[in-house]
Amino acid sequence: MLDLTYETPKPKVIAGAKHDWELVIGMEIHAQVSSNSKLFSGASTQVGAEPNSNVAFVDAAMPGMLPVINEFCIEQAVRSGLGLKAAINLRSAFDRKNYFYPDLPQGYQISQLYHPIVGEGEVLVEMGPGVARLVRVERIHLEQDAGKSIHDMDPTMSFVDFNRTGVALMEIVSRPDIRGPEEAAAYVTKLRQILRYLGTCDGNMQNGNLRADVNVSVCRPGQYEKYQATQDFAHLGTRCEIKNMNSMRFMTQAIDYEARRQIAILEDGGEIVQETRLYDPDKGETRSMRSKEEAHDYRYFPCPDLLPLEIEQAWVDQIAATMPELPDAKKARFMADFGLTDYDANVLTAELDAAGYFEAVARGRDGKQAANWVINELFGRLNKEGVSITETPVSADQLGGIVDLIASGEISGKMAKDLFEIIWSEGGTPAEVAAARGMKQVTDTGAIEAAVDEIIAANPAQVEKARANPKLAGWFVGQVIKATGGKAAPQMVNELVVKKLGL
C-alpha cells in the first residue's frame, strides 16, 4: 500500500483570541462526465453551442417524454469509481430531487440519493515529499446538470439556456478528512488529475466543468481524533457549506475566511448555524445563502420512469482491465525507472499528455537529462508562449534527438539551446539541422591546445594577472571558445587553460 509510506500532514491550526482551533473539511465535487451525449438523452454535450440548440424533447421536459440511461455515462462513473479504488454497486437506482427553478425544466433533478452507483473509495493527497493525507470518499452518484439562467440580457426578463440541462454529473462526496485550505485545494487538484487520467472528466474549472461545495467546521485540538475513533459527528463543530467553488484560489480564501468567521463566533460564546453560504471574491467573505430552516424540502423519491440500474461484475471487470496507469503509480515508476526527484516526478505526471511526452523523450536515454530538458526548456517555452503540450512544435522525437546530441558530446549545452530554438521555430531533424549549421563542438585535443597556446602567447599581461588571480582563467576560456567559433567543448578548454597556465 502506497499510503503506508507516507507521513500524515499536520492539520491547519488557527490561533483564536482565546485558544487554538483546527479545521475539518468535507467536499462534494460536481464533475461533469466526459461523454458525447447527455445522461438521459441523445443531445450533444458540446460547450459553446448556440443557446438552446443542444436540447432533446426530454431535456426540455416536454409532456410524455421519458429518460433513457446513457450507458457510456454509467461506464464513466464506474471507471471513476475504480480509479478511486472504490466499491462499485452492481445495483443502484435513480431518485427525483424536486424543486422549482426555470433552469430545471422537469421540476426535478434525477439523481441517486438512496442507492449510488459507487460506494467507498479514497484519494491520496500529497502535501510534500513523503507527506500525504488519505481522504476517504463516501460515494459517487450520477445526476443531471441544470441549465443556465441568464438575468443580465434584459432589464425586465430572464432567459434560460437548456444546453447544459441533463448533462451527466458525478457528485463525488468525501468524508470530512481534509484538514486545511491547502489540503482542500490539493484534494481537488488530485481528484481532477485522476479524473483527467481516466478520461472521465475534462476538469475545466473555468467552464464549471468541475466545481466544489465545501463543508467547513472548526473544532478544538483533540476533537477530530475522537471523531476518527468513533465516526461520531457530535465530536465535531457545526458545519457550513460554501457552494459552487470553481477556483482553487478562491476556495482556499473562502475556507480560511469561513474558519475565522466561525472561530470568532464561537469565541464570542455564540453558536454556528448550519447553513449554505456563498463566497464573494470581491469582498473576500462568505455570506449566508439560506439557513437550514429555509432549506428546500426536496421530496426525494425513486424515479418511476427508470428501473433500478443493474450492472454485471463481468462488465465492471472489463472496464477495470482497460484502466490506464494512474498518477500515483506513474509517479512511483518515474522515480524508480528514471531516477527522478519527487518534485520532478510530480511535475511530469501532473498531466497525462506531459507524462507521455516525457516518457517518449526519456525512453532509452538519461532520465534526469530528459527531465531537465522537458521541464526547463520545453515547459518553460510552452508556458511563455501559452501553448499546450499537445500543440508543442517540438515533438518528443525531436527533443530526444537534441538530448542524444548532447549525450554523445557532439554539441554543447549552449549549442543545444540554440538548436532547440531553431527546431521550435523552423522544425527539422536535430542531427541534420546541427550538421547543416556546423553546430559541432570541437573535441580534438590538438586543435584546442593550439588555440589555447595562441591565446596565451598573444596575451602575456593577462597571463600575469591570471596567475595572480586564478578566477581570471575564465577569460582565456571565453577567448578560446570565441576563437574556435563557439565549437570547442567548454569543459575541455577549461582543463587545458588551467593546465597551461599552471594554475
Binding site: 424533447f57 426540455a60 421536459a61 416536454m62 409532456p63 410524455g64 417524454m65 421519458l66 429518460p67 433513457v68 440511461i69 427525483r96 424536486n98 422549482f100 427553478y101 426555470p102 425544466p105 422537469q106 421540476g107 426535478y108 430572464s158 434560460v160 424540502d297 421530496r299 426525494y300 423519491f301 418511476p304 420512469d305 427508470l306 428501473l307
Partner: protein, 496 residues
C-alpha cells in the same frame, strides 16, 4: 356503400375492407358524420377530419396493394392524453393551452404505421385525474346511455370518458384509453363496452402525458373482446424510448380467442364482496361465476387479504408521482402562462400560472402528493404505501402460484351516476369508484372490463377479469367466453 359502417366492430370492418365490400374512405366518412352528429356527447375535443381522410385514402391504397395490417383503414378516436404530432394534445387541461407536440407518441405512431385513421382527440378528466370526466377543461363528456326515459345526463366514467362515450355511441370503431387506477375499465363498464388495461410495461408510455408513471398504462377501448385483442396487438411492444417497457415478444392475441377455458381455475376473491354492494352488482357477479362454470372452468374461492389497503395506498402513490410529474407545467416553456403584475417575480409566475392552469382536482392531488413526500411524512405515507403495494402484489403472486388462471370481480361498485351528482360529495366518494380496479394497477397486472347486461334502469354493468402478468392472450380468452355467454348486444337509444 354499407349503411352505418361506423357501427361496425374492428373485426367486421377489417374483413369487409379486405374483401373490398367497403372502402376506408367511406368508413371514415361514416364515422366523421357520426362524430359531427354526436357533438351533444362532447366526446371529441378536437376533430381531425383532414388527417382522417388523408389516412383513409392512404389505407385504401395499401389495402389495394394487398399490404393491410389489421388496423389498416380503421377509424379510431385518440384520448387527449396521447401526444399527436401537430395536433392539440392538452390532457384536457388549461395549462397546456395551445400545445401542439412536435412528436408522435409511440402508441399512435404504431397505430398510424399500421394504417389506422385518427378521427380526433377525445375528452377525458384533466391529466386523467377523475372518475367521471367532470374535471376536463372542455366540460363533461356525456354518457350515451340514459336511465330509461329519464333525460338526466350521466357520466361516461373517467378518466377515459370521451373514449368510452365515443365507442359506445359509434362515433368511432374503437378508441385509445389510459388506465392509472381504473380509467379504462370503469368507463368501459359505465358505457357497455370492452376495455383492457395491459400488464404494466406491455405498452410504451413514451409520448403519453404522465399522471403516475409507475401505474399508467395505455390500452384499447372497443366494442368487443376480439377488437380488444386486435387493437392491443397493434399498440403493444417493446420501446427502447421507455425504460419501463418490457422487451418481450407480442403474441397473436386474437389467435388466443379459442373460446375454450375448460379446466381453467377462476378465483373469486372474498375481499371484493364489499359491504353495501348493490344487489344488482352482486347478482351480476354471481351470474358471471355461473357462466364461467358452465364453460367448464373451476371456480375457486380465494383471498387477497391486503385489498382493503389498496385504495389508500393508491391515493398516496399516484398523487406523489403526479405532484412531481406535473412540476414541469410551470409556464416557462410551453402552455399557459399567467399575466403577471408589475413587480411579480418567478414565484408569482409559478403560483399564478399553476393556480389558473390546473383545475381543483389536479390541485388537490398535487397538494396531497407534495404532502406525502415531505420530510417528516415520507415514511408514514409514501414508504408505507409502497410496502402496502408490495403486499398487494404478493397477494396476487401467491394466488397465481397456487394455479389460479384468472380472477373475476365486479368492475365498478355501481352503474353510471348522474353528472354533478357527486359534486357536493366528499372527494373520497368519487375515489371509491376505483375500489375494484386500483389493485390491478398497483400489482402491474392486466385487467379487462366486459359488459354483462343492463340494470333495472337500463344502464350497462360490467365485470372485471384479472389475469397473470404478460398473459393478456389468456385473459382475453376468458373475457371472450364471458362475453359470448352474457350475449350483451344492447346499444344506447340514440337521443343526441
Amino acid at each position: 356503400m354499407m349503411t352505418n359502417a361506423n357501427e361496425l366492430t374492428i373485426a367486421a370492418a377489417r374483413d369487409a375492407l379486405r374483401k373490398g365490400e367497403l372502402s376506408a374512405t367511406d368508413l371514415t366518412m361514416a364515422c366523421l358524420t357520426a362524430m359531427d352528429a354526436g357533438d351533444g356527447l362532447n366526446a371529441y375535443v378536437h376533430k381531425t377530419p383532414e388527417i382522417a381522410l388523408e389516412q383513409a385514402r392512404a389505407a385504401d391504397a395499401r389495402i389495394k396493394g394487398g399490404d393491410a395490417p389489421d388496423l389498416c383503414g380503421i377509424p379510431l378516436g385518440i384520448k387527449d392524453l396521447f401526444c399527436t404530432k401537430g395536433v392539440p394534445s392538452q390532457a384536457a387541461s388549461k395549462i397546456l393551452n395551445g400545445f401542439r407536440p412536435e412528436y408522435e407518441s409511440t402508441v399512435t405512431a404504431k397505430l398510424f404505421d399500421a394504417g389506422a385513421v385518427m378521427l380526433g382527440k377525445l375528452n377525458m378528466d384533466e391529466f386523467a385525474m377523475g372518475s367521471s370526466n367532470e374535471t376536463s377543461c372542455y366540460g363533461n363528456a356525456i354518457n350515451p346511455w340514459r336511465r330509461g326515459n329519464d333525460e338526466t345526463a350521466l357520466t361516461p366514467g373517467g378518466s377515459s370518458g370521451g373514449s368510452a362515450a365515443a365507442v359506445a355511441a359509434d362515433l368511432c370503431l374503437a378508441a385509445t384509453g389510459t388506465d392509472t387506477g381504473g380509467s379504462i375499465r370503469q368507463p368501459a363498464a359505465f358505457t357497455g363496452i370492452v376495455g383492457i388495461k395491459p400488464t404494466y410495461g406491455r405498452v410504451s408510455r413514451w409520448g403519453i402525458v404522465a399522471f403516475a408513471s409507475s401505474l399508467d398504462q395505455a390500452g384499447p377501448m372497443t366494442k368487443s373482446v376480439r377488437d380488444a385483442a386486435i387493437f392491443l396487438g397493434a399498440m403493444a411492444g417493446h420501446d427502447p424510448k421507455d425504460s419501463t417497457s418490457a422487451d418481450l415478444p407480442v403474441p397473436d392475441f386474437e389467435a388466443a380467442l379459442t373460446g375454450d377455458i375448460r379446466g381453467k381455475k377462476i378465483g373469486i376473491p372474498r375481499e371484493y364482496r364489499m359491504e353495501g354492494m348493490p344487489a344488482e352488482i352482486e347478482k351480476l357477479w354471481t351470474d358471471g361465476i355461473a357462466m364461467m362454470k358452465d364453460a367448464g372452468a373451476e371456480i375457486v374461492d380465494i383471498s387477497l387479504p391486503h385489498t382493503k389497503y389498496a385504495l389508500p395506498a393508491y391515493y398516496v402513490i399516484a398523487p406523489a408521482e403526479a405532484s412531481s410529474n406535473l412540476a414541469r407545467y410551470d409556464g416557462v416553456r410551453y402552455g399557459h402562462r399567467a399575466k403577471l403584475a408589475q413587480g411579480d417575480g418567478i414565484t408569482e409566475m409559478y403560483e399564478k400560472t399553476r393556480a389558473e392552469g390546473f383545475g381543483p382536482e389536479v390541485q388537490r392531488r398535487v397538494m396531497i402528493g407534495t404532502y406525502v413526500l415531505s420530510a417528516g411524512f415520507y415514511d408514514a405515507y409514501y414508504n408505507r404505501a409502497r410496502r402496502v403495494r408490495a403486499l398487494i402484489k404478493r397477494d396476487f403472486d401467491q394466488v397465481f402460484a397456487a394455479g389460479i388462471d384468472a380472477i373475476l370481480t365486479p368492475a365498478t361498485p355501481s352503474a353510471a351516476f348522474g353528472l354533478g351528482e357527486m359534486a357536493s360529495a366528499d372527494p373520497i366518494q368519487m375515489y371509491l369508484n376505483d375500489v375494484f380496479t386500483v389493485t390491478v394497477n398497483l400489482a402491474g397486472l392486466p385487467g379487462i372490463s366486459v359488459p354483462m347486461g343492463l340494470d333495472r334502469q337500463g344502464l350497462p354493468l360490467g365485470l372485471q377479469l384479472i389475469g397473470r402478468p404478460w398473459e393478456e392472450g389468456d385473459l382475453l380468452n376468458h373475457a371472450h367466453v364471458l362475453e359470448q355467454a352474457a350475449g350483451f348486444v344492447a346499444k344506447p337509444a340514440k337521443w343526441w
